[in-house]
């Protein structure tokens, strides 16, 4: 429930292992094999970035708060876990998810406003509120009416105070939480794990260099410390994404303040070791995020847009 993630439908029905997720998606793809082969799509994370851009574009003129956008992203991700995307009009699904999320997050928008803004900023052919209303039925039905979402923001706010993060670090951690909605992480780990992960990354990333300034060395260091904490000496666990991250600015952790930052990090690591937070999950989340930042380099909005338009047009899904 709202206060109690552990009894929530999110934990009971919408948290999976990677194997379960892969299996579910394989099952869906096999059911629509011809369709999937006929209309190739970019990596799911790139599509998610595209969706996020679209949602933010729609949300801005409506002054929708971030938490409602996040809820909408989760609805979309859950929905496409159950319904093959090539059978849907993603534009309609996005608009509907935001419309529904606004109601759940107590910042309701009129259906006509959502539709009007969608037409205005997405340049879509959506004209009929009843389409949105109908899609809302599909969405709620596929989501089994399980619409209450536990976000990492609350835990993040608590940890920010606990660890006395600077304003920059806190802002960075917040945007890392925003980024995790572009990955499968919301379907894999509890929200507090994401919050912890965001804080770790915020402390090693360099806020001054702007959003994505990943310090490969710093992250590598953290991953190793965490692995050590887990009592696993295997370097493979900490390696992977971080070391091979190309195109990320190098440089040592925190520039001149390396030693202080290092101490800070060790403090976090030992806090984590003593807490009941699943360290393995934190490491996994960190790697997922790093590989997101890596693949982000390849993102072009138009590619996603075109490939979606292909199946939508060919199948007349926007009619």
């Amino acid at each position: 429930m709202a206060a109690n993630y552990w009894d929530s439908t999110q934990r009971k029905y919408w948290t999976f292992t990677k194997q379960q997720l892969a299996q579910e998606r394989r099952k869906n793809e096999e059911a629509d094999r011809a369709l999937v082969q006929q209309f190739p799509l970019p990596d799911r994370r790139l599509l998610s970035i595209h969706f996020n851009h679209q949602l933010c574009k729609l949300a801005r003129p409506l002054s929708v708060r971030q938490q409602a956008i996040a809820t909408a992203q989760i609805y979309v991700r859950r929905f496409y876990l159950k319904v093959e995307i090539r059978r849907t009009n993603p534009t309609l699904v996005l608009a509907t998810a935001l419309y529904l999320a606004c109601k759940m997050e107590e910042c309701p928008q009129h259906i006509r406003m959502v539709l009007a803004e969608a037409r205005h900023c997405w340049d879509t052919t959506l004209t009929d509120t009843s389409k949105l209303g109908e899609c809302e039925f599909s969405l709620i039905s596929e989501l089994n009416s399980q619409l209450i979402i536990h976000h990492p923001y609350r835990a993040l706010a608590e940890y920010t105070a606990t660890f006395a993060l600077s304003a920059e670090e806190s802002a960075l951690a917040w945007s890392i939480v925003n980024d995790h909605y572009l990955t499968d992480l919301p379907l894999l780990h509890p929200p507090h794990v994401i919050a912890v992960t965001a804080i770790f990354l915020a402390v090693v990333l360099k806020p001054t260099q702007g959003g994505l300034g990943v310090s490969a060395q710093g992250v590598q260091g953290v991953l190793q410390s965490l692995s050590a904490t887990m009592g696993q000496s295997s370097p493979a666990r900490g390696g992977g994404a971080a070391t091979s991250a190309p195109g990320t600015p190098g440089g040592s952790l925190g520039g001149g303040g390396g030693a202080a930052a290092q101490n800070r990090m060790m403090g976090l690591v030992s806090w984590l070791a003593e807490s009941s937070v699943d360290i393995e999950a934190v490491v996994d989340a960190m790697q997922e995020l790093l590989s997101l930042y890596e693949i982000w380099e390849q993102f072009t909005n138009n590619l996603c847009k075109d490939q979606i338009a292909k199946f939508v047009k060919a199948r007349g899904l926007d009619k």
Binding site: M1, A2, A3, N4, D7, S8, T9, R65, Q67, A68, R87, T88, N89, L92, Y99, L100, K103, M104, E105, E106, C107, P108, I111, T129, S130, K131, L132, G133, E134, C135, E136, F137, S138, I140, S141, N144, S145, Q146, L147, I148, R154, L317, K319
Partner: protein, 449 residues
């Protein structure tokens, strides 16, 4: 005034008219069909996916509708049985589309969305269990476990002139279970916001279940102040003073005030603060509920800033002074203690603390619940550890009918559901009988603005 007799006919076991039996049977069958018709929608969903939503579950295929239970601003409730061996009986709430006879999807109301989400998420023995939710043919159906009774019906049953008060142990068990359910809701950051006798269900086995989460919502750090969403909450007689005084940031304490009102009503068999609702003016600004506030003040006296420090910062504070003018009952209130003693005497509860009487502990609990200052008012948790429940007597029973020989009539279920699309008055309409709002129950609530 306040004669309970106006209420008595409502739930008395209806006498069957002695018309020709066969004609009646035919008619009954026709009506039965019309009840069933409420679940048949002529529009089909033969279009392909994304050109059309089609439900995987069909309410008619899964349930057999037995009859109509009640209607309100939200829609209608029907009694049903499972067609596939589902255990027990069910109450199916069919949400009314925003506009009657709506043939297009218009978007689901926020309160329906909230109710669906909360019903799916919540699970507690003292909260009505949701079996499933079916979205079919532009309609939303929430399937609940069926409860044979509710507190309004129990109060009405005792209200008849020949009957006596509700046994003290029944009241104690009801209240204990009610507050346990409420504690669960509050622990999960859910405010009910519409507690009243009609919304508290009681099963045949004496289990109390909080129902109707149509106004309930989460209160953890709302994005908007609670005031902006729903201008007015809680049926007027059960509305807490901070709401009457226009508080914008109210708390779960509003539910505890309602529990206090319900406790008083169980004891006295009539609403303790039976005010008249002032209607919304044309500008849609909620008016000051003078009459309701007056009813409260006449019994427990005017609130003071000594007892309620934030009183003077309430938006409608200025109206309070005007209440006393020319009204001796305001300047010389009855006092809750006197009201309580009189009530116990009238209803022949014996003196002193015993299983047969709520005694002094009952008064103390009632005072704790009907406390003006929401910060001082008992919380659900504190109420549960009140001596009324934890004192030397045995623990309140999990079955509120334990030790009671009273046989409450079953819920009236009618076949007179002439036309689902047109005939729905607001208010808590009960099977086959006049709308409650017509005989003195206030209209359920205003829809959110």
């Amino acid at each position: 005034m306040n004669q309970p007799s106006t209420n008595t006919p409502i739930l008395s076991a209806g006498s069957v008219p002695s018309a020709a039996a066969s004609a009646r049977a035919t008619q009954a069958q026709a009506l039965k069909n019309s009840v069933q018709a409420a679940f048949n929608d002529p529009s089909d969903s033969s279009q392909a996916m994304f050109a059309g939503y089609s439900s995987k579950k069909c309410v008619n295929e899964r349930y057999r509708i037995i009859g109509f239970i009640s209607s309100g601003t939200y829609g209608r409730v029907y009694k049903a049985q499972g067609r596939h061996g589902q255990i027990g009986e069910f109450a199916i709430k069919k949400f009314k589309p925003d506009k009657e006879g709506e043939i297009q999807y218009t978007g689901i109301s926020q309160s329906a969305v909230r109710e669906m989400a909360l019903c799916t998420e919540l699970a507690h023995p003292n909260v009505v269990h949701t079996v499933e939710i079916i979205l079919e043919d532009k309609c939303i159906y929430i399937v609940f476990e069926y409860a044979e009774h509710d507190l309004l019906q129990i109060i009405h049953h005792h209200n008849q002139p020949t009957r006596r008060a509700i046994p003290a142990r029944t009241i104690r068990s009801i209240l204990y279970q009610l507050v346990q359910g409420l504690l669960y809701l509050h622990k999960n950051w859910v405010m009910h916001r519409d507690l009243k006798p009609a919304n508290i269900m009681v099963t045949r086995a004496g289990k109390v279940k909080i129902g109707d989460l149509g106004l309930a919502r989460l209160f953890y750090k709302p994005l908007h102040s609670l005031f902006t969403g729903d201008k007015v909450v809680v049926t007027i007689w059960y509305r807490a003073p901070e709401l009457l005084l226009g508080s914008r940031h109210y708390t779960p304490a509003v539910d505890l005030w309602a529990v206090g009102c319900i406790f008083a009503e169980l004891l006295s068999l009539r609403p303790i603060f039976k005010g008249e609702e002032a209607k919304m003016d044309s500008k849609k600004t909620p008016p000051f509920q003078r009459n309701q506030m007056q009813k409260i003040v006449e019994i427990i006296g005017l609130p003071t800033k000594e007892r309620w420090p934030l009183l003077t910062s309430m938006p409608e504070y200025s109206h309070l002074n005007g209440l006393a003018a020319g009204n001796p009952r305001v300047s010389r209130p009855v006092g809750l203690e006197n009201w309580y003693k009189q009530c116990l005497k009238n209803n022949q509860y014996p003196d002193g603390q015993s299983p047969e009487s709520p005694g002094a502990d009952g008064l103390s609990l009632l005072q704790g619940l009907l406390e003006y200052d929401p910060h001082k008012r008992l919380t659900a948790e504190a109420a549960l550890s009140h001596p009324y429940f934890t004192g030397p007597m045995e623990k309140p029973s999990e079955n509120c009918f334990e030790g009671s020989k009273i046989d409450y009539p079953n819920r009236r279920v009618s076949q007179e559901d002439n036309d689902i699309r047109t005939s729905s008055l607001p208010g808590t309409k009960r099977g086959g009988l006049p709308d409650d709002s017509l005989i003195g129950r206030p209209a359920k609530r205003l829809k959110e603005g």
